[in-house]
């Protein structure tokens, strides 16, 4: 069979690398032209003060058919939640409801200009207020901004509020503490906000080492940032002591809410003592990841911090209509306009679809599914933290590396041959050869079982035929990539053939 395969030119139904769109078409064609010009032509050079183009930009020139085929082929080479199980830890790859996609495209939402008179966008503002109120209730933190464009942007926004609060108190501070399990965006946001990062090691149990934390907490610490449930999938049982200790030195407790899915309707960051939280709507609230965004990272804060939030903030006026308002002590804008509105529409639809019972059930099922999968897999892999997990858990490929020289990366690639997206790998850094598995609540039990079977089979392959695993994947549109070459000799744009 392989000769015939080899024999076969890459036609449409074969999945494999495609021509660049620049290599299609021909200089003349263009499928969308401007309208017939119904006003006098202008002399461009004159109109633009001589800044008109001398050479036309090198864009593809193709017809619609070529475009649709091109992207059809590209899509075929992609794996999304709709393609199969996608247990990418920390990313909450749940189903993206289609009605949300439809709603975001309603003319009455997608066709709004941000500077329309406020009385012509009452529905949009009502939606934003409704979402803010829901997020406040879910988080237990009453002040909400919907502006941040993603989780990292939310982190930065919250840190800016902390800075403003301390500054307003005449008590500016220098440092932000994070555990070694923190996501990379945490220290990067700390740095962008002009603070210094202090990293504390986690305990052997993967949780915050309270003593280590207390040891670094002082009057120069602006905040402690914690993902809770944390990035090894554990809810920190000392959370109240932790936030208390942070508050004791006048610092703020920040919750990275990437893992909020685990605790919706069960426990609220506000009730855990956190002062601020960002929520990844593109994780917990089912908005699609889009191959890397757009997401949205609303920030919820305590009442005293609300005055520092970026503006403008939509609010409900006493007469029942809606307006926009910037808080007194606002840090200012963190982006243009009001937030990733199209994403907010989707998240709002999700919250309304599920309601209080549905949201709690999301958390229950997400946690149950993760524990179910953990039980199935713990016989075949090292399990660094052998206890009840939240919505995700971390395995280690240490045994396979030690005994057969098969690395976690190899097993992840081999999973592709089995038709599954791999878990997050090598994060958190704390765990050797980490495999971070988050099934989400939207997967049928059959998918969980099939995935567990595949991973167990790969563990067996790793001992029976390690080279098989190390050479994976075999069945994907492209095989393993030369990433070193990409970085060494970067080719970052198409150039015409010489």
């Amino acid at each position: 069979m392989s000769e015939q395969l080899a024999n076969t030119p890459s036609g449409a139904p074969l999945r494999g690398p495609r021509e660049s769109i620049f290599d299609l078409g021909s200089p003349e064609s263009s499928c969308v032209l401007g309208p017939a010009l119904d006003v006098p032509e202008v002399d461009l050079s004159e109109a633009l003060g001589g800044a008109d183009r001398t050479e036309s930009p090198q864009l593809p020139n193709v017809t619609e058919l070529e475009i649709m085929r091109h992207y059809a082929h590209l899509a075929e080479m992609n794996f999304g939640v709709d393609s199969g199980f996608y247990p990418l830890g920390s990313c909450t790859m749940k189903y993206n409801p289609r009605i949300n996609e439809d709603a975001a495209r309603f003319d009455g939402f997608a066709g709004l200009h941000p500077y329309q008179p406020v009385d012509t966008v009452q529905g949009a503002l009502e939606l934003m207020v409704g979402l803010s109120e829901s997020l406040a209730e879910i988080s237990g933190l009453p002040g909400v901004t919907l502006q941040p464009a993603a989780g990292a942007h939310g982190e930065l926004t919250a840190l800016m509020c902390f800075r403003a609060a301390h500054t307003a108190n005449g008590d500016p501070r220098k440092k932000v503490v994070i555990p070694d399990t923190a996501h990379g965006t945490n220290p990067a946001s700390v740095k962008m906000c002009g603070y210094e990062t202090v990293t504390i090691p986690s305990g052997d149990d993967g949780l915050v080492d309270l003593d280590a934390l207390k040891a670094v907490l002082d009057e120069d610490v602006a905040a402690f940032m914690l993902t809770n449930p944390n990035t090894v999938g554990l809810f920190d049982p000392q959370i109240l002591e932790i936030t208390e200790a942070v508050h004791a030195v006048g610092a703020f407790a920040y919750c990275d809410g990437a893992n909020l899915n685990a605790v919706l309707g069960v426990t609220r960051p506000g009730d855990q003592g956190f002062d601020a939280l960002h929520i990844n709507l593109h994780k917990t609230f089912s908005t699609p990841h889009g191959g890397g965004g757009p997401g949205a990272g609303p920030v919820c804060v305590t009442a005293p911090l609300a005055q520092f939030l970026p503006g403008p903030i939509p609010f409900r006026q006493s007469n029942g209509t809606f307006g926009l308002n910037t808080p007194e002590g606002s840090i200012g804008r963190v982006r243009s306009f009001y937030g990733n509105f199209g994403v907010l529409v989707r998240a709002y639809a999700y919250v309304r679809a599920l309601g209080p019972d549905g949201l709690a059930e999301v958390a229950h099922q997400a946690v149950l599914s993760a524990n179910y999968l953990k039980e199935k897999l713990k016989g075949s892999f090292d399990l660094p933290y052998d206890r009840v997990c939240m919505h995700e858990f971390v395995l280690s490929g240490g045994r396979q590396k030690r005994e057969h020289g098969v690395r976690t990366l190899d097993m992840a690639k081999r999973l592709l041959d089995y038709g599954f997206h791999p878990p997050t790998v090598y994060f958190p850094l704390l765990v050797d050869e980490a495999l971070m598995i988050e099934p989400t609540e939207t997967e049928p039990i059959a998918a969980l079982d099939a995935f567990a079977d595949a991973l167990i089979a790969i563990a067996e392959e790793s001992s029976a035929d390690p080279d098989l695993v190390k050479g994976a994947p075999y069945t994907t549109p492209v095989r393993r990539l030369d990433e070193a070459r990409a970085a060494r000799e970067p080719v970052l744009r198409w150039t015409p053939p010489a």
Binding site: P17, S20, G25, S29, S30, C31, P35, L37, L48, G49, I67, H70, L74, A75, F79, G80, S83, D107, A110, H113, P114, Q116, T120, G123, A124, G151, A152, H153, L156, L159, H183, G184, P187, A188, P237, L240, T267, N280, H282, G290, G291, G292, G293, P310, I331, S336, F337, A349, A353, P356, G358, V388, M390, H421, P477, R480, D482, E483, P490, L492
Partner: protein, 443 residues
């Protein structure tokens, strides 16, 4: 339950497999005091029918600018989105995927972004473009931060003619970080290069300008670039991507970084978000660039393939030493921009831009003809322009909205000199513009 496939019996079986009786036991780590122990106070869940009705009614409570005769711009433009664009975006293999961390099953996203990067390079004349930023404003700020890293200086000169919201964002970031911002005074029309030159010294990391600027006018990039480079600063230009179809690329004037709001490229106005920050720079500074980059390489069989690269600049590897904290970006908006540029091609883009420019001039002339408007300056502009209105702009605006016209954006209200900013895209027809001019004249 909606979106959850596990049935009661299956749940029981799962609980047994996990070794607990009730799912609540799995939350034993949550301290009693932190448990909510009550249902969330939210409206009850809805069936899809009820939800659809509710969402329709919320959207129906708005009057979308896209449905009326819309002359508003100021950063978000009402361009035609070719039908193919949304058909591309609706492919679930694109929109339900995460960031392409596993290149073997993400060639679709990766190649599409690589092509987008290439198109942005073609438009801007830069060597490298990243996979996207959140929006024009944050791209603009990131350009200032990058210039500081490149030059190891700390001060930036920002043209006062840049979008006021962008300047606000710049200040917000500056407050928290380590950039000193000086905004060059601007009182309409074109920025005065001598003012920039006066503010210039060897401590300046970058001169940042927009052309067209906030009031639609094209800046004297040649002069400004020379001033920046004269003191070893970087020259950062914010551009309108539609205008780049007919304008000389900023590279021609020595730009080191070109950024902008990519919404006009096939993205809905969507009440201002999600937009698309595009970001491009010279090859030599690529390692100081923020954001994701897709590069071309080969796979184990030697086939051409694409992968996220130069990630040692990024937070997940470099943590606090990263060039930015950005992680999720606006990949799907970049996909839209790529599909848009493929759909229009160089011929179409230039036709569209020409139509905008011609129509903007037509409207401007018609409005001035009415005698109710006057031109505050005569500098070259793109498809956006400001006029002063001899009357009460607020009232005129409200009355025209009722008649189905979004009469631009009121910039300032000053006795008999209210200033209004008008944008005219290729969607506007002569008929609409004539009607607008007549109705305003008749007010």
């Amino acid at each position: 339950m909606r979106y959850i496939p596990v049935t009661c019996e299956q749940r029981e079986a799962m609980l047994r497999a996990v070794g607990v009786e009730r799912v609540e036991e799995l939350f034993a780590d949550v301290p009693e005091k932190a448990l909510l122990n009550r249902p969330l106070e939210l409206p009850a869940g809805m069936s899809e029918i009820d939800l659809a009705r509710h969402l329709k009614s919320l959207s129906g409570a708005n009057i979308p600018a896209s449905w009326i005769v819309n002359f508003a711009g100021a950063g978000v433009y009402d361009h035609h989105v070719p039908s193919v664009v949304d058909h591309v975006l609706r492919k679930p293999e694109f929109f339900t995927a995460y960031t392409p961390y596993q290149p073997e099953v993400s060639q679709g996203t990766l190649q599409a972004i690589f092509e987008y990067q290439s198109m942005i390079c073609a438009l801007t004349g830069m060597d490298v473009a990243n996979a996207s930023m959140y929006d024009g404003a944050t791209a603009f700020v990131e350009a200032a931060l990058m210039a500081c890293r490149v030059t190891k200086r700390q001060k930036v000169l920002v043209a006062g003619s840049v979008h006021p919201e962008w300047i606000e964002v710049m200040y917000t970031y500056a407050e928290a970080g380590h950039v000193d911002v000086e905004v060059i005074d601007f009182d309409g029309g074109r920025l005065d290069p001598t003012q920039v030159a006066d503010a210039m010294d060897a401590s300046v990391a970058a001169v940042l300008v927009a052309s067209p600027n906030f009031v639609g006018v094209l800046e004297d990039l040649d002069a400004l670039g020379k001033i920046a480079h004269g003191e070893g600063a970087l020259f950062v230009v914010a551009a309108n991507p539609i205008m780049l179809g007919i304008m000389e690329p900023p590279s021609t004037f020595g730009a080191d970084i070109v950024v902008g709001e990519g919404q006009p490229l096939g993205n809905a106005m969507s009440f201002g978000g999600p937009g698309l920050g595009f970001f491009a720079c010279r090859q030599k500074n690529v390692r100081q660039m923020p954001g994701r980059l897709v590069g071309q390489t080969v796979d184990a069989d030697g086939q051409k393939a694409y992968v996220l690269t130069l990630s040692t600049r990024e937070q997940h590897i470099r943590r606090e030493k990263a060039t930015s904290n950005i992680c999720s970006n606006h990949a799907l908006n970049a996909l839209a921009a790529g599909a848009y540029l493929a759909a229009v091609g160089s011929v179409g883009l230039s036709e569209i831009a020409r139509a905008c420019v011609a129509k903007a001039r037509y409207l401007r002339d018609r409005l001035i003809e009415t005698g109710k408007f006057a031109a505050p300056w005569e500098d070259p502009f793109g498809y956006e322009f400001a006029l002063t209105y001899k009357g009460d702009a607020d009232e005129m605006h409200a009355r025209m909205f009722e008649r189905g016209f979004f009469a631009g954006i009121i910039l300032s209200v000053e006795d008999e000199h209210d200033m209004i900013l008008f944008a005219v895209t290729e969607k506007r027809t002569r008929e609409e513009m004539d009607a607008f001019a007549e109705e305003v004249a008749a007010l």
